[in-house]
Amino acid sequence: MSGELVGLIGLAVLFVLLVIRVPVALAMFSVGFAGIWALRDLKAAMSLMASESFTIASSAELVVVPLFILMGNVASVTGMSGRLYDAAYAIVGRFRGGLASATVLGCAGFAALSGSSVASALTMGKVSMAEMDRFNYDNRLSTGVVAAGGTLGILIPPSTGFVIYAILTQQSIGRLFLAGVLPGILLLSMFIATITILCWLRPGFGPAGPRTTMGEKTRKLVGALPVLLVVILTIGGIYAGIFSPVEASAVGAGLIIVIGAATGKLTPRTFWTAAKDSVVTTAAVMLILISAHILNPFLALTHIPDLVGTFLEGLEVGPITVLALILLTYLILGCFLEGFAMLVLTMPIYFPVISQLGIDPIWFGVLVVLTLEMGLISPPVGVNVFIVKSVARDVPLARIFAGVTPFWFAMLGTLIVLIAFPQITLILPNTMMN
């Protein structure tokens, strides 16, 4: 049997395993292992199993994963998201749709702490949804804005999405973090513009909140200052060359723990819970990564990535069209697959093609992560939508999906702008870390 045929059978089996709800990591692991056994021998498959399990689990650069997760979890249990929201609310709450804009700003701030979209949507949903209900916000806007705002978590650094992409494609984590800054700000602005337009077209969607005095504004901003300082120190430290990403993640986690303890919000019990949750999440992420490193050599042996590359080259279209086609497949896959799983499944196939076409891998990484974000709010899977549903139990799912639709188009608009102007993504990494 030819390598290509074994590869196609392997991919078909992988698809079936995913459909029948076998966890993504176990499906990838078993197909990769069986494929190498079929194409080489059992000894090679077992040797890979032993070496990859230990090598990936002891990878120095992957230490950022549990540390950033810990930072996000501690920030979440200590209610730091609330302080970010309060500060944004004090500034923009009095405008029409202001609470929704404050939610997006709060999500962006929390994203800079946690690096996780789900954590951003969950914590910000708990904080802001009740407040928007109190001011009679249309529940399509209130739920839509939380689900969409949460997606900023994997674009605004530190982002677990970027870390995984960097590991899979051997890119610099620092450059990717830096590349995510301007697109993150652009997306944030697009979300706020969407809210403004929606509330301008339908004033009942987001009535203005009460005015706040200058004293209140100052107090709320001062309340959020420690959190903002942690973000600036952590991310700024990487760019200034003071910390490596691993050190920055530990400094960030350490500072958040100190602030939480100093303010009395972090007890030994809540800290232990946050640490244990971080270990569990790390295990899930790392098992997928280990599995990807079992599946990738199998795909390489089958030459399927080469075939895909040859096929795309045979189309005789420019690199941008190929890029658009690849992103289109992510948009379609995003309706069914979890973003992170999609990344590890497709990167071994797409990345060689991208490299061959001379497309900048950092730019591609940002575009892919943004497209994965769109999957987080695309029906029928839309993880963030389900997270919001768990907070707003009385709002029908269809209404939440209706609420996120304008934001989905805002993301599509951002994606198009980023494709048209690669310099938005590349200017910071190229000027600051070249």
Partner: protein
């Protein structure tokens, strides 16, 4: 005593034992995370004062092994592994039930395989005296730790498969493990 009562008692004892092992493994992982955080922080602070922690990278690399595999069994117990559940509602209950058993068994086999192969490769590490770069910590100690924690995960998954098989499509195990 009827055989099914004996089976249930035995299963309950096994579950209790497995849960303790899973908790112990998660405890090791959590302590590992706290240790790694402290090591990196000590290194950064020490460096600021011209005295970085010697071998910090060795410590946090090996600590990572404990974090990753320490949390694996608990992650499985809590249903934390990512799965595509779009089609779940379209399958009959009985089919979903057997799929759960299949996934648990597949996981058990994979983790038993990891435990065995890593233990096997630890013998080579021991023979070659492989150690970390700076403080020369023997790598095989951490391979043993990985093997033990992978084995605990495999036991937890195998036990879950047995519980699911005995409990039927609407049984206790299915609900308890969040599937």
């Amino acid at each position: 005593m009827p055989r099914c009562v004996v089976n249930k008692t035995m299963l309950a004892t096994l579950r209790k034992l497995a849960d303790r092992l899973i908790s112990l493994s998660a405890l090791a992982g959590t302590l590992g995370l706290i240790f790694v955080t402290l090591v990196v922080l000590a290194d950064v602070i020490g460096r600021a004062f011209g005295a970085p922690l010697r071998g910090a990278q060795d410590f946090y690399q090996m600590g990572m092994v404990i974090i990753v595999f320490g949390g694996m069994a608990l992650c499985d117990k809590l249903g934390g592994h990512v799965a595509v559940d779009v089609f779940e509602d379209h399958f009959p209950d009985a089919f979903n039930h057997w799929l759960n058993i299949f996934a648990a068994l597949l996981g058990a086999v994979i983790f038993a395989g990891i435990a065995y192969t890593v233990y096997d490769s630890s013998k080579l590490s021991q023979m070659l005296k492989l150690a970390t770069n700076i403080v020369r910590m023997p790598k095989w100690y951490f391979q043993w730790a990985l093997s033990i924690m992978a084995l605990i995960t495999a036991i937890g998954m195998a036990l879950r498969a047995v519980e699911l098989a005995l409990s039927g499509p609407h049984g206790r195990a299915r609900r308890e493990f969040g599937e």
